[in-house]
Amino acid sequence: MSGILFVLVAMVLWGTGAIFSKLGVSALGPWSFTFVRSLFFFIVVVAIVFGTGKFQWSSKKNIIYPIGAGVAMGFSLVFFYNALEFYEVGYAKTILSFNIIVTVFLSSVFLREKLNLIKSIGLVLALGALVILYI
């Protein structure tokens, strides 16, 4: 039961945090917001990573994956916070949730995760929802 509670708390925090992103972008502009947020997020992550356990950098050749993820996520942040200048945060966050379409597709190609019937139906539904929300 407590495990689900942790996940729900995380869900609420991520969902609620987006409200501060809208308020911050409206007040500071997307670039200042992105800069300050990224700086403090890195400080928080460093505190968590080094404060809660041993850091073991064992596989240097695979470092390309988290670096690539960071670069891609950095661009995502830049795009998203710029989008918040034009769109309401509820709408923008809903649209952003469709990144799972890209994740599922790329996972089927690069990670050989099977695209079963359920996921295929989900993909079609997600694309349909994206079209509805855009028009």
């Binding site: 945090g17 007040a27 073991q56 064992s58 988290p66 989008a83 945060v89 809903t94 990144n99 989900g122």
Partner: protein, 154 residues
Amino acid sequence: METSFFYLIGAILSSGVAMVLLKMGVLRMGTRETVFFRSLSQTILVFLVVFLLFGTTKFSLPYRIEIIYPILHALMSGIAFITFTKGLKVVEVSIARPIMNLNFMITVVLGVLILGESLNPKMCVGIIMAIIAIILLSSASKSRPRKSLVSPQY
């Protein structure tokens, strides 16, 4: 298509790619190291983009009370990451991931209640379809490795 919508498309594409790379990093390096290097490269990239576009002449740190918003956002994201990781130790990924991916519902509700954002019928239909789609897409397939994916979003 409006130019501003390309920002959202760009965010979808790049965060979708980031999730896959993050998973590959977690599978090969471990969560702690992956999260650290991902955060480091993300921060460096953001700083580079901000300074390349603005330079040191136009960009200045906002010394106003509103600076609390990005700080709070960063803190909440960090705490969310801790609690999600703790939850993943006990809860199956197939249950945790759909819950995590539906956090946009919280944003929609709070956006309406706190920011006075609109919620028209078209948006409601889109959101309901999105919820069902995300639950279906987040369902575990038998071929997937059992390692957990810690994927804090924003």
